[in-house]
Structures are given as structure tokens and as C-alpha cells.
Amino acid sequence: MHSPSFPTYIGCIVPIYDGRKRQLKVPNELAKIPDLLPRYLGNIPEFTLALVAYTVSTYSPTSGARKDQVTVNLNIHFGVVLYEPSLQSADEASDEEEKDAGN
């Protein structure tokens, strides 16, 4: 059985895909996202619901104050935007937050 190989480091491009209009079949289509979804253009707004795909590795600094301390790298490969909050809903959320803070 062939398993997909994911490079551990991706240097230049972090592709973001647009998953707002198409629901993926979980888990079968998760490994094929780059082939299934169109690219998402532009910056991702704050509080967007997104799926991030990454590999996990660690490293230990060889010098400095944190020498030999295990540090986890979450090496991003791509992302999928699932839901973008509208400006209105974000404003409402912040209004409610302020009200809560007032109480």
C-alpha cells in the first residue's frame, strides 16, 4: 500500500484552499485536498474557521539558555478555509463581549 509522502519543510509557498463551498468527505478526501479544492486568494480574516495541515517534529537548541530543551515544530503544509465570519457577525461578537465585560 502506498502512503503519501509529505515533505517535512516547505519553504516558499503555503497554499490555502477554499473549502467554503464544498464539503469534504472525511477522512477519504482529506489527503487529496490540493486536488479537490480551489485556491483561496488573499489573506485569511481573523477568526476564520480553518483546517491546517502540518507535520510535527522537534528540535533541541544546541546552545543558548534553552540548550537541549525539546521544542515542537508545527510545520505547516497547507490550510483550508472553511468558514469566514462576516464583518457584521464579528462586530456583533465584539459588542457582546463588551457587554459581558460591562456586566
Partner: protein, 233 residues
């Protein structure tokens, strides 16, 4: 179009061996192994029985996005570029995520408060209380360099900037997003033993007093948005 059932499927997804993918918040940690991918990449998470690195998926609410232009750190001739997306894991997923990684990397699970050692901690990259999913740090010649500076241990999060400040050296001027990594948070009241450990770190990398967690506010806002989302659909 976005159904709560779909959200639940994504959240509750565990792993798929054929696709070599997993959700670290849900996967059984006994299925995970750690191995060196190459001389540069150490301790890569993988599924037992599969030598390739495991592609992990997490559902997050994005708080900072630098995936397009990245952000510059440092200054010439040592200018580094990093591209990242910072996102908050949903409540409970975060705890599972940390627990699974802790088990995968065989951290001690019965910590002795009096004997906590830095090497017993897992460090994560975070930006303003959100996990930072990053590329490697690249300089213009394509070399990689990593500076990660988060401590998560026993329910305590500490973000220190000691090494990062060294590398940063007054940069971020060209950073599209002014929110840098040079902040830290402590999320829970540390034990006296842990406080003394923290006190041993750089003074510019810590605060002595606790503060209300921004994560609480972010999660609150995220929860509201999720409720709205569910109500809309």
C-alpha cells in the same frame, strides 16, 4: 452549506492510515511513533507501520495570518523570513492535542513539582496565545533556522522570548502584521515550584504577575462565532 454535522466530522476525525493523516487531538497516541526523518529533521511524528511523516490536521480559528508575505525577522545581513498562520484550537481539542503530543514524545506524565527540569518540558511556538503553524525560518539563501519559545507543561503555558529577541534584533518593521512573537502568557496559576523555575528565565521574557488570559477572550469570541454559525445553518 456548512453543516454542524460536517464540523463534527472534522473535529472528531481520528486518523486514516491509508492517507497517512491524523487529527492529533483525537488519535490514539499509542498509534504514534517518532523517528528522525533526516539528519536535519528530528523526531518526526509518524504512524506506526508507516515510515513517512504523518500529516496532521487541526481545526483552528485563525487569529493571525502571514501565509502570503510572511514576516521578516532580524535585519541585514541576518534577515529571516517566516510564514505562519496562528490559530486557536477549540476548547478540549487543545488539551487533547497537548496530551497526545506529550505521550508521543514520552514526556513524564507524573511530574514532580520539586524536580521539574526544562528538558522535561515541551516547547511550542505561539503567537498571542495561539499556536503558530509555521514554515521554517528562511534566509535569502534558503537556509532554515528555527526559534521557538513556548513552554507548555502541566497546564501551564509560558511564552518566553529570550532567544527570539536575540534573533530579532529590532526588526519586524517590514512585518505586515505588527503582532509579533515577542509576547508571552501564563495561562494558569503556577505552583510555587514552577514559579521559581520561571523566575530563572530571562526577566524580559516573563511577567511575575498573572493576567487574564487573552485566550479566554479569543475562545469566547470563537464560541460566539461557532454558535452563530450553527444557528445560521
Amino acid at each position: 452549506m456548512f453543516e454542524p454535522r460536517y464540523l463534527k466530522q472534522l473535529l472528531a476525525f481520528s486518523h486514516d492510515k491509508a492517507g497517512n493523516i491524523a487529527n492529533p487531538s483525537r488519535i490514539d497516541p499509542t498509534l504514534l511513533g517518532v523517528k528522525d526523518s533526516n539528519s536535519f529533521t528530528k523526531n518526526v511524528l509518524h504512524l506506526h507501520g508507516n515510515s513517512e511523516p504523518l500529516l496532521c490536521f487541526s481545526l483552528v480559528l485563525v487569529t493571525i495570518d502571514n501565509h502570503e508575505h510572511g514576516r521578516a525577522l532580524g535585519s541585514d545581513p541576518k534577515e529571516w523570513v517566516i510564514k505562519d498562520i496562528a490559530g486557536v484550537l477549540l476548547t478540549m481539542e487543545l488539551e487533547r492535542f497537548v496530551a497526545v503530543l506529550g505521550l508521543a514524545y514520552e514526556l513524564p506524565y507524573l511530574p514532580d513539582d520539586n524536580a521539574r527540569r526544562e528538558r522535561d518540558l515541551l516547547h511550542f511556538a505561539m503567537v498571542d496565545n495561539a499556536f503558530s503553524f509555521t514554515t521554517g525560518m528562511m534566509n535569502k539563501t534558503g537556509e532554515f533556522f528555527f526559534v521557538l519559545d513556548i513552554v507548555y507543561y502541566g497546564g501551564y503555558l509560558l511564552y518566553s522570548t529570550k532567544e527570539f529577541d536575540k534573533a530579532k534584533a529590532g526588526s519586524s518593521k517590514s512585518t505586515p502584521n505588527p503582532k509579533g512573537i515577542n509576547k508571552f502568557k501564563i495561562f494558569a496559576p503556577p505552583s510555587p515550584a514552577f514559579s521559581s523555575k520561571v523566575a530563572g528565565l530571562s526577566s524580559n521574557a516573563r511577567r511575575t504577575s498573572l493576567r487574564a488570559s487573552d485566550t479566554g477572550r479569543i475562545l469566547h469570541k470563537c464560541t460566539l462565532l461557532l454558535f452563530q454559525l450553527i444557528l445560521v445553518v
